[in-house]
C-alpha cells in the first residue's frame, strides 16, 4: 500500500499527460454536441488523422527539418496539422452531417461511423503505401528528460521523471484550453457559438449565419483535436490508424463526465479521467490483490461512463441555470 502513495507523483504526471489529451479531444465532442446535439463519432479519427499528418510532415521535412530549431519545426507542424484537420472536420460536417440535419438523430450517427471507417482505411492505405507499414514510428523532436525531485518535498514520494515532450504536450494543451475558453466566453464569435447552441432560430434573427458558426465549431474542434494527435504521436512514438477509436471513446467519456455540451466540464472531465485511469493502471493489481491487472484500466474508464450515465447523466457540471422560456 505504501507503494501506491510513493508512486503518486509519477501517476499524477502520467495521468495529467493522458488527461490533457483526453481533455482537448473531449472539447471537440462537447462543442459539436452543444450546437447540434450530435455525437460526432468521427472525431476520434480526426485526432488519429492529425497524428498521421503531423508525423508525415515531420518525416517528409527530412534534412530541411533537422536544419531548423526543433521548436520552430514543432510550431510549424502544429499549425499546419491544425489547419488541415480543421478543414477536414469542416468538410465532414458539410458532406456527412449537414444534408442530414433534419433527419432522425440515429441517421447522422451512422453517417459518423461511416466516416470513421473511411478515415481509418484511407490513412491505413496511405501509410502503407508511403512507408510499407500502417504502424508508423516517427522521429522525436525533443529527446530530453527531466526528474522532478518530489522526494525532497515529502520523503515517502518517489521522484517523477518527465520527458521534455511531455512538458511540451502539457504546456501546449493547457494553452489550447485556455485560448478556447477565452474565445468561447469573451469574443463575439464565441458568444455567437453559445447563442447558436441555445437557440439556432433566434440566433439567425440576430443576423448570425448559423451554418457559418457550425462550420467554425467543427473547424476549431477538429483543428485542436488534430494538433493534439501530433502531440500524442510525439509522446508515445508509435501510431496506427486505430488509435482514434479507443481514445475517442475515452475522450467522449470525459465529455460526458463533465456534462456533455459543457466546455469547462470537458476539460476537467478529461484531466480527471486521465489521472483515474493511470492510477488504476498502476494500482489495480495491488488494490485487488492481483484479481484485476492493469489491463483492466479501460474497463475502469468505461465503468465510470456507465456510472455517470446512471447516477448523474447531466455530468458533474451539468447545465444548471433553469431555463425560463
Amino acid at each position: 500500500m505504501s507503494h501506491i502513495f510513493s508512486a503518486l507523483p509519477q501517476v499524477l504526471v502520467d495521468g495529467l499527460t493522458l488527461g490533457a489529451i483526453y481533455a482537448v479531444v473531449a472539447l471537440g465532442y462537447t462543442m459539436v454536441y452543444g450546437i447540434l446535439e450530435l455525437i460526432n463519432f468521427a472525431h476520434g479519427e480526426v485526432f488519429m488523422t492529425g497524428a498521421f499528418i503531423g508525423t508525415g510532415l515531420l518525416l517528409s521535412m527530412g534534412a530541411f527539418g533537422s536544419a531548423l530549431p526543433a521548436w520552430i519545426t514543432l510550431i510549424l507542424i502544429l499549425i499546419l496539422t491544425a489547419l488541415l484537420t480543421g478543414l477536414l472536420g469542416m468538410g465532414i460536417e458539410k458532406l456527412a452531417y449537414r444534408p442530414l440535419r433534419k433527419a432522425p438523430k440515429l441517421i447522422p450517427l451512422i453517417s459518423a461511423i461511416g466516416i470513421s471507417f473511411i478515415l481509418q482505411d484511407l490513412v491505413r492505405f496511405l501509410a502503407e503505401w508511403k512507408t510499407g507499414n500502417y504502424i508508423v514510428t516517427g522521429t522525436t523532436l525533443f529527446e530530453g528528460k527531466l526528474t522532478i525531485p518530489f522526494s525532497s518535498i515529502i520523503g515517502t514520494f518517489q521522484n517523477a521523471t518527465i520527458k521534455t515532450n511531455t512538458l511540451i504536450l502539457i504546456g501546449i494543451t493547457i494553452a489550447i484550453m485556455f485560448m478556447l475558453d477565452i474565445f468561447v466566453n469573451r469574443t463575439k464569435w464565441g458568444t455567437a457559438m453559445r447563442a447558436v447552441a441555445q437557440d439556432q432560430e433566434t440566433a439567425s434573427l440576430m443576423s448570425i449565419n448559423v451554418n457559418k458558426v457550425i462550420s467554425l465549431t467543427f473547424f476549431i474542434g477538429s483543428a485542436i483535436g488534430g494538433a493534439t494527435g501530433f502531440l500524442f504521436a510525439q509522446q508515445y512514438a508509435t501510431i496506427d490508424p486505430y488509435i482514434g477509436f479507443i481514445l475517442g471513446l475515452k475522450a467522449f467519456t470525459a465529455a460526458v463526465l463533465g456534462g456533455i455540451g459543457n466546455i469547462r466540464g470537458a476539460m476537467f472531465g478529461g484531466l480527471l479521467l486521465g489521472v483515474l485511469e493511470v492510477f488504476a493502471a498502476a494500482n489495480l493489481s495491488t488494490l485487488t490483490s492481483g484479481v484485476f491487472g492493469s489491463e483492466y484500466k479501460d474497463v475502469f474508464a468505461f465503468a465510470i461512463l456507465i456510472l455517470v450515465l446512471i447516477f448523474k447523466p447531466e455530468g458533474l457540471f451539468g447545465k444548471s441555470a433553469k431555463e425560463k422560456v
Binding site: 463575439k188 458568444t191 455567437a192 453559445r194 447563442a195 441555445q198 437557440d199 432560430e201 433566434t202 440566433a203 439567425s204 434573427l205 440576430m206 443576423s207 448570425i208 449565419n209 448559423v210 447545465k319 441555470a321 433553469k322 431555463e323 425560463k324 422560456v325
Partner: protein, 237 residues
C-alpha cells in the same frame, strides 16, 4: 406615397409541409407607421412575420425598401434592417443580459457604435441596465420582453416586427410595453405589431389588418377598425 413604402407583401402564401398557413396575403407598411395585424390564435400572425424575415418558404413577393427579399434567409433579412422580436421572447437563457444585447448588435462592426446603441436601449429600458450581468433565463417574463425588444433595437433596425409582446404578461406590464412601443414610433421607428390583444394594439396603431385562417379579411385605419362591428364582435368582446 410610394417613397414612404417600406415593406410590401403581395399575394404571399406560406406552407408548413402540406398545410397552408397563409393564403395570398397582401400587406403594406409605410415608413414611420405602426401597423398592427390582429387575429385569433392560429390565424397566421406569426407565420406572416416568419414569412417576412425568411423563416418559412413562401410564394408571392415580399419587398423591403424596393428590394425583393422573398427568398432571403433570416440572417440576411436581419442585415437589411428587419428586426424580428419572436413570439415568446426567445431570450438566450444562458447568455447574460449584456451578451444578449451584444448578439442583437452582431452585424455592427464598430465597438463604439454598439456602446452608443446600448445607451439608447437603456434609455427606453432602464431596468435592463441594472441586470447586465444576470443570465437572461433568470429574468421575469416582463423583463425578458423588454430585453427582447432592446436586443432587436441593438441592430439599429429600420423596422421592428413584434410578435405578441403582451403574451402572458400582467396588464400593468403590458401597458408599459405598449407605451414604449409608442415612444419608439414617435422617435421614428416603423413597427409591425402582431397581437391577439386587438383592442390595445389598435389603440396605438395607425392602420390595422385583420387575419383569419390565413387570409386578410379586413384592412383599414385603426380607428375605423375599432368601430367596425365585425371586429368588435369577434375580437373586442
Amino acid at each position: 406615397m410610394s417613397e414612404r413604402l417600406l415593406l410590401q407583401m403581395q399575394q404571399v402564401s406560406a406552407y408548413y409541409d402540406q398545410i397552408q398557413a397563409l393564403d395570398t396575403i397582401s400587406l403594406e407598411v409605410n415608413l414611420g407607421e405602426i401597423v398592427t395585424l390582429v387575429g385569433s390564435n392560429g390565424a397566421g400572425k406569426s407565420t406572416t412575420l416568419k414569412a417576412i424575415c425568411g423563416q418559412v418558404k413562401t410564394t408571392g413577393t415580399i419587398s423591403f425598401l424596393g428590394k425583393d427579399i422573398t427568398r432571403l434567409p433570416p440572417h440576411q433579412t436581419a442585415k437589411l434592417g428587419i428586426a424580428h422580436v419572436p413570439e415568446g421572447r426567445r431570450i438566450f437563457p444562458r447568455l447574460t443580459v449584456k451578451e444578449n444585447l451584444e448578439m442583437g448588435a452582431f452585424q455592427l462592426k464598430n465597438k463604439k457604435e454598439i456602446e452608443e446603441q446600448m445607451e439608447i436601449v437603456f434609455q427606453y429600458f432602464p431596468r435592463i441596465k441594472e441586470r447586465l450581468h444576470q443570465k437572461g433565463g433568470t429574468m421575469s417574463g416582463g423583463e425578458q420582453q423588454m430585453l427582447a425588444i432592446g436586443r432587436a433595437l441593438m441592430s439599429k433596425p429600420s423596422i421592428l416586427l413584434l410578435d405578441e409582446p403582451s403574451m402572458g404578461l400582467a396588464p400593468i406590464i403590458v401597458e408599459q410595453i405598449f407605451e414604449i412601443i409608442q415612444e419608439l414610433n414617435q422617435t421614428g421607428m416603423t413597427i409591425l405589431l402582431v397581437e391577439q390583444n386587438a383592442y390595445q394594439a389598435l389603440t396605438i396603431a395607425h392602420r390595422g389588418y385583420v387575419i383569419q385562417t390565413g387570409k386578410i379579411i379586413l384592412a383599414d385605419q385603426a380607428e375605423s377598425l375599432l368601430e367596425n362591428k365585425q371586429v368588435t364582435e369577434a375580437y373586442l368582446a
